[in-house]
Every structure is written in C-alpha cells, then in structure tokens.
C-alpha cells in the first residue's frame, strides 16, 4: 500500500487549493463543532446540576399523599399527623436524620417604609446541619426549644437583613408578618447566607426565604399533606423512600402506594435523563449538517477527478493499479474530512467554553465524543469519497490520456 505517499499527495493538493479545501471542509467543521459544543454544554450542565444537588444534600426527600388516589377529596385520616411522624422516626432511628412537616407560608412585611415579602419555611431543630449549602453568619438557627415552645422566631437571609434592617446583623430585630390570618411579631435569631444557585432564577418569587419553627405555621389539628426528611445518605435513597412510605401506609391502614416520595437523587436522575436526551436530540440534528458536509466533499472530489483526468491517465500508464488510484482519492477525501473534524472539534470546544463562561460554569469535555466526532467525520469522508474515487479508478487510461 502507498498510504504514506498518498497522504503526502493529498496534503499537497489540499495545500495547493487552500480556499477550495477550506470551503469543502466548512460543512464538516460546522457539523462537528455544533455536535461537540452541544454535547459539551449538555455534559457541563449535568455536572452543574449534580453539584447543586450535592450542595442541597443528596439525602433530602419529601414524602406526600399520592394525589392520583385522593382526587375525590382528601379525608382527614389520609393526612400525616404528628404521631405518624413520631412513629416513622421511632421505626427508622438510623435512617431518618431529620424529619418535619412540610409547611410554608408567604407574607408581606413592612419595616418602617421598607416593604418586603417573606416566604416562611417551617423547619424542625438544626435544619442547617442537613442543608449543606447554608451558612449561618450571625446568631443561630431555629433550635429544639423554639420548635417545642412554638416560639415566634425567624432566621432570615443576609439579603433580607440588608434590605429590611439596613444592616447585616439583624439579630434581635422583629419582623411583623401575617400567619394564617393572624398578625405576629417574629424575633430574628439568625442571619444566613447561601451561595448563588442555578435554581434561583427558576423560583420566580421575589420573597425572601426565611426559616421559622414549623409549629407556628400549622393550623388546627396539625395535619400535614407532606413531610420533609433527611435520610441516611449511605443508603439507597429509592429503597429508603419505599420503606418509609409503605410503613406510613401500613400504620395509616392505607393501600401500599397511598404515600409517595421524591428524593433529591431521583430528581437528579430525572434531570440528567432529560438533559441527556435533549443533548442527544439536538446533537443528532447537528449531525445532519455532517451529511450535508459530506455531500460537499463528494461534489468537490468529483470536480477534482475531472480536473485530474489526464493525471490519472498518466499514472495508469506508469503502472498505477485501479486500487492505487482509488486509494489516492479516498485518502484525499478522508483527510479533508478529518482535518475538518479536528478544526470543528477545536471550534466546538471554544464555542462551548465561551458559552459556559457566560454562565460561569466549568466546561466538561467528554474525550469519547471527540474521538467519535473525528472518527465519524473521517467516515463521512470515506463514504462520500468512495463514489468519486471509484469513478477515477475506473477511468480508461487511453481516454484519460487524451483528455484535454
């Protein structure tokens, strides 16, 4: 085989037709760069989402009533009562690190002339020890005595402290809010901070996130439709969720799937699946441009064959076999395509890097994708180069020599 000679020959002819070669490569460059950019952005987004979840705590879980089974109306016996929560905690002392009713109330507030809105999230004692991305700056978090004593305490965000009280350390200040139609003055016991998150934009609410002892948000019989848990992170979250909900159903004398759960882990899996499918789908569309690029290569190779008809005749008269001519043109089209693939890969990475830097996300590049992209582009070159190369190889030497 004359692979080395053919590669040199191909590079020479690519060099001698720089503009034409570049334009031919352009289709491949665009195709490969978009595939690489899209898959890298997808992979980077996955990484970011994973980190967000980790910050939040991968062992976070909510258990709640299966709405599909309670469409005809929720009965009192369906709801999760304080004693159910106690029973759960008692049944799984190792696996439940934190458990509290899920309850949230939003209220307007006003300090002097400054108006604001707070979203009060009911928590049990030491919530911050489980929600890992939360950092206390001043004071303390809601503790056991606040919860047990149903005290009017509140922990606010740094942003809220600055805006409502005009200072970061707002411990000791009071905040007037309305809870279930009743005016209350809550005493600020702590100020916290969480790092900026990708999900911030997803929550449209302009309310400040605050934490209060959950009992002060509850009404009448203290029944709940949902509970929040932090579980044993060393165990399979799915299995734990199933154990908790089926136990709850048993003690409440309900059918096994009457309560369902959603773990951070399962949410992450779902998001990753969506992101994965999305980047594959968009990548596949981008790959179509590779086919268009391939047709461009075929077109220009056909022109080359015609241009070099006489050369082919000369080569054949000097002893080139059909296979030699075939290889010459095939290698040329593969090299054009592979060079396009390499340029496209670099461009794709640059596009992804620039895009990700706007979103302040570290770029993740999958080496498999690069190998696949360059390999695939060479395949495109081979596939679309085959027809012109065969045409060249089959030229009759006498006809070819006569060609002007």
């Amino acid at each position: 085989m004359l692979i080395y000679e053919n590669i040199i020959l191909a590079l020479t002819s690519i060099k001698s037709n720089k503009m034409r070669s570049f334009l031919t490569m352009l289709g491949i460059i665009i195709g490969i760069s978009s595939v690489i950019a899209i898959t890298s952005i997808g992979a980077s987004a996955k990484g970011v989402v994973g980190k967000e979840f980790e910050a939040y705590g991968m062992n976070n879980m909510f258990a709640y009533l299966n709405w599909e089974l309670t469409q005809d109306g929720v009965e009192e016996s369906d709801l999760i009562m304080p004693e159910d929560i106690e029973a759960l905690q008692a049944r799984f002392p190792e696996d439940i690190k934190y458990i509290s009713p899920y309850v949230q109330v939003e209220s307007d507030t006003k300090i002097g002339r400054v108006k604001g809105k707070v979203s009060m999230y009911g928590v049990g004692p030491d919530y911050h020890k489980h929600k890992k991305n939360m950092k206390l700056l001043h004071g303390r978090m809601i503790n056991a005595s606040d919860v047990d004593g149903e005290k009017d305490r509140i922990v606010i965000e740094k942003k809220a402290a600055l805006s409502l009280f005009n200072k970061e350390n707002a411990v000791g200040e009071t905040l007037a809010v309305v809870i279930n139609g009743e005016m209350k003055d809550l005493v600020v016991v702590g100020v916290y901070e969480v790092p900026a998150s990708l999900f911030d934009a997803m929550f449209m609410s302009d309310a400040y996130q605050t934490y209060v002892p959950y009992p002060i948000l509850q009404t009448g019989d203290r029944s709940n439709w949902a509970i929040e848990l932090y579980t044993n992170e060393k165990k399979n979250q799915d299995a734990l969720g199933k154990e908790f909900t089926s136990y709850l159903a048993r003690i409440k004398d309900k059918e096994p799937n009457f309560y369902i759960f959603e773990s951070a882990e399962s949410q992450l899996t779902t998001i990753n699946k969506i992101l994965g499918t999305l980047s594959i789908a968009i990548g596949a569309i981008a790959a179509i441009s590779l086919v268009v690029g391939g047709i461009g290569i075929m077109n220009i190779m056909l022109v080359s064959v015609t241009e070099r008809t006489r050369e082919i005749g000369i080569r054949k008269s000097l002893g080139a076999r059909t296979k030699d001519i075939l290889m010459q043109f095939l290698i040329e089209s593969m090299i054009i395509s592979a060079i396009g693939g390499v340029i496209g890969t670099i461009l794709g990475i640059v596009i992804a890097a620039v895009g990700m830097s706007f979103a302040k996300i570290a770029i993740v590049i999958d080496p498999k994708v690069i190998i696949l992209a360059v390999g695939f582009s060479a395949m495109v070159g081979m596939f679309f180069g085959l027809y012109p190369a065969r045409k060249a190889a089959r030229l009759d030497p006498i006809e070819a020599l006569r060609y002007e």
Partner: protein, 234 residues
C-alpha cells in the same frame, strides 16, 4: 536477429462506438526482437497509435494474439497489465505528460512508487536517471519551469525508472524544435546502442525515422511496408 520480444498474430482492433464500427487494425502480424530500434510511420488514422496502445498494454486487441516476452497479454488481468506497464514498458508521449503539480524528481520517482520501491532507493535512482539526461540541477523544478526539450528528457528518465526493456515513444519530438528533437533522438540512440533497450518510436517525420534501423509503415490499419535498413543514422 536475437530474441523475440514482441509477436503479434492476426491482431485486429475494432472500436465499437455504438452506431458505427471502426476497424483500427486489421490482422496485423508483426514480430519485434530484443534490441531493435524501430520507427512506426503512417498518416493520422492509419492505426499506428492504436498499435502503440496495444503494445503498451493500455488497450486490448479485439481479435488475434499478442505475446510480450512470450506471454499472451490477452490472458492477463487488469492488475497484471498495470504491472507490465510498470516494469516492462517505458512510455514517452508527445505532450510529455508530466504531472504538473510535482517536481521533476517526483515525476521520475512515480513509476517506482507504483513499483513499491522504497523511498531512499527511489530518490537515489531518480537522481541518477536525471543525471544521465543532464538534468540533475533541475531535479526540484516544477514541469512548468522547464523547456520542452528538458520536459521530454525528464519524461525519458521517468520511462526508464523501473529499467524496462521496451521504450515506447509516441511522437516524442512532435512538440519540440529541431535542435531539441535531435537531442532527444540522440538519447534514444544511446539507450538502444549502449543500454540495449528495444526502442519503438511512432512518428510521421521522415528525418526522425532516419535515426532508426527498421521502419514499419501503416495505412488504413494494415502494414504496407516493413523495411529493415540495416543500421540507422545514429
């Protein structure tokens, strides 16, 4: 005479263009011996180029047999014919047929590339061949930087690359001035006399044919005269 190198028996070539059939060669019987210096003459359309193509294994006869060094060419595959062209025959064309995008040296190397000769040896031999035709200093020139006579000398060097026995030249002086023509013919003389190559030249010029020892004249696809002059003018 010495060993027989080419023998043709009842060789006929018919071009079938669909509507009409053109008989280019009619039952040619011809024998050429090793070391002969031959001119093939005839007007255009007389069949001399067709004969050259068949001798050079670029084309196959429609009927009849063609033995090259005792082997029936009709029985060979296309790949085997490529090998014959590569090893046993050297072509020289009227329009030089150098590959314009590569240097003189690379052109001379080309038959050796297809003959699977290693890069080092190839380059060495190509330089030697160019030296023999007095173009060592032009080795790295591109064909368009060479004069007609120089191009034809490169072409001859290329034809000799794989040391073929037979040299086939189709109007080798057709595009050259008389001075260069004489130089080229002197090279052919030298190759025939000193190297013992069988040289076959197609020409329509009397004074070119004068250099050779045997003149075969074609008309309408037949040999009308086959004249052995003894020793030509070189």
């Amino acid at each position: 005479m010495t060993d027989e190198i080419i023998r043709m028996e009842g060789l006929t070539k018919i071009y079938d263009t669909g509507e009409i059939q053109v008989t280019a060669l009619k039952e040619i019987d011809l024998t050429i011996h090793k070391g002969e210096f031959i001119a093939i003459m005839g007007a255009s359309g007389s069949g001399k180029s067709t004969l050259m193509n068949i001798i050079g294994c670029l084309d196959r006869p429609t009927e009849g047999r063609y033995f090259l060094e005792g082997v029936d060419v009709m029985e060979k595959s296309d790949n085997e014919l490529s090998a014959v062209r590569n090893k046993q025959i050297g072509f020289v064309f009227q329009s030089f047929n150098l590959i314009s995008r590569t240097s003189a040296l690379k052109n001379v190397e080309l038959p050796m590339v297809y003959g699977r000769v290693g890069a080092e040896e190839r380059k060495e031999r190509a330089m030697e061949l160019l030296r023999n035709v007095g173009l060592e200093d032009r080795a790295h020139h591109m064909p368009n930087e060479l004069s007609g006579g120089q191009k034809q000398r490169v072409a001859i060097a290329r034809a000799l690359a794989n040391k073929p026995q037979i040299l086939l030249a189709d109007e080798p002086t057709g595009n050259l001035d008389s001075q260069s023509s004489v130089e080229i013919m002197e090279i052919f003389c030298m190759l025939n006399r000193q190297e013992g190559n069988t040289v076959i030249i197609v020409t329509h010029e009397r004074d070119i044919a004068e250099f050779t020892d045997r003149v075969i004249t074609f008309r309408d696809g037949r040999i009308i005269k086959d004249e052995v002059k003894g020793v030509g003018s070189c």
